[in-house]
Amino acid sequence: MELPIYLDNNATTPLDPRVLEAMMPYFTNKFGNAASRNHAFGWVAEEGVDYAREQVSKLIGCSEKEIIFTSGATEADNLAIKGVFEMYADKGNHIITATTEHKAVLDTCKHLEKLGAKVTYLNVKEDGLIDLQELEAAMTPETILVAIMYGNNEIGVIQPIKEISAIAHKHGALFMTDATQAVGKIPVDVNTDGIDLMAFSAHKMYGPKGVGALYVRRKGPRVKVTAQMDGGGHERGMRSGTLNVPGIVGLGKACELCRLEMEDEAKRLSALRDKLENALTELEESYVNGNREHRLPHVANISFKYVEGEGLMMAMKDMAVSSGSACTSASLEPSYVLKSLGLSDDLAHSSIRFGLGRFTTEEEVDYAIENTKKAVNHLRDLSPLWEMFKEGIDLSKIEWAEH
């Protein structure tokens, strides 16, 4: 086992060597511009792009013509939401989203509010899922778009996508989802799920960084988005800019591998995740965050009460994980996602996200378990809060000197 071990696969995944191999020729001798229609260099590049488009569409059950390549999921989220807002302006200006969305969605909505959009931010329940009745109640004749993520990046919960899209459609709105954490990890089918627009990215599924895609439905209904970048009219006029051919080829290959290996991989990873979670919740006062039934197979988000996440990460030597706590002077605020679940600030500060991936081994998980337990115990020995808890002092009754 090589140290450090990587358990932050929700932040990014390593590139699968098979993906790299597929990409390599497009950096060197197949360097053509896919838009060069009049010579072989262009045709070869275009062929690579077309094949990738097919590989991507097969994974999510759509037609190749419905894939718009972008620089990643953030751009795809922006294009989808801003593009719909502009294109459907005569129909309405109301967008519904949720408080636990990724910043690429939330900040795009905030931006549109300045331009006259009305945005409803649905709260989530304690388990991280939205309340369908609340969604239904929020729908208005002016609602043009419902934007709810597929799987959450911090806690991994999977929203009831089919039910959400059905509600959106019933009220004549489009349904968009940021599926960055879900595509390639669990079966996603845009038709069964009733998805009209879907953003995702290559680097979360063992592909390269800097490339992603937006799925835009062409039939029933035909969805259109206003381009957010002007130029050569690439990607059916919706996203100008010379295509990132090696990146797109990599995204295609990554999608193909996920389609073929997803089922086995999900089984293996959820077994490892459960092992990790069961072992770590044996520690006193540790809690799993988010719904444990409806969630991605490879994520565990655990709060270890009375220790602070960033301090804890430092003690988890040779392990790359992520914390819901950010102890910097700029932001003493813990994760807004965890706070949306109703977690108190101190529990949110005490959380660690473990993200398993294709290359995670059982040996690494065993190491993570031992190492984390040791770290939590070390930090609790140092923690005045743990001592008070052990003495039976009610911490909520103490008047803290806020600073």
């Binding site: 009375y306 220790v307 602070e308 996440g309 960033e310 301090g311 430092m314 003690a315 706590s325 102890c327 910097t328 002077s329 700029a330 003493l332 813990p334 108190s344 600030d345 101190d346 500060h349 020995d381 140092l382 923690s383 005045p384 809060l385 743990w386 001592e387 911490l395 103490i398 803290w400 000197a401 806020e402 600073h403």
Partner: protein, 137 residues
Amino acid sequence: MAYSDKVIDHYTNPRNVGTLNKDAKNVGTGLVGAPECGDVMRLQIEVDDNNVITDAKFKTFGCGSAIASSSLATEWLKGKSIDEALAIDNMDLVEELALPPVKIHCSVLAEDAIKSAINDYRVKNGLEALEMPKSHH
């Protein structure tokens, strides 16, 4: 962001972790910060008849820099007189631990903890509490 060697040293081998009898007359206890903010420090001093700090202990809930700041503070406090202890400035901690700007608040908290422990000792011994410096943030 990488931690300095000194932060790592104090974090891995914290000095003077523990608890003094908070009810003892010669012990001053400072509890500063708040769980919601992600850091809480408890710093205690034991003072002899000559106003010299003979022992210091801490426990901290917080990031590595917060733990290191309080560990270093206890090291510095031992053997100092109360007046010398009051002169410890958070920037001395920042310098010694090479804290980056985003972690300066950890040192501020440690300074607050020192002053708050001294005040607790003073009040217990019939002295007036000193005015606490305004937190720098």
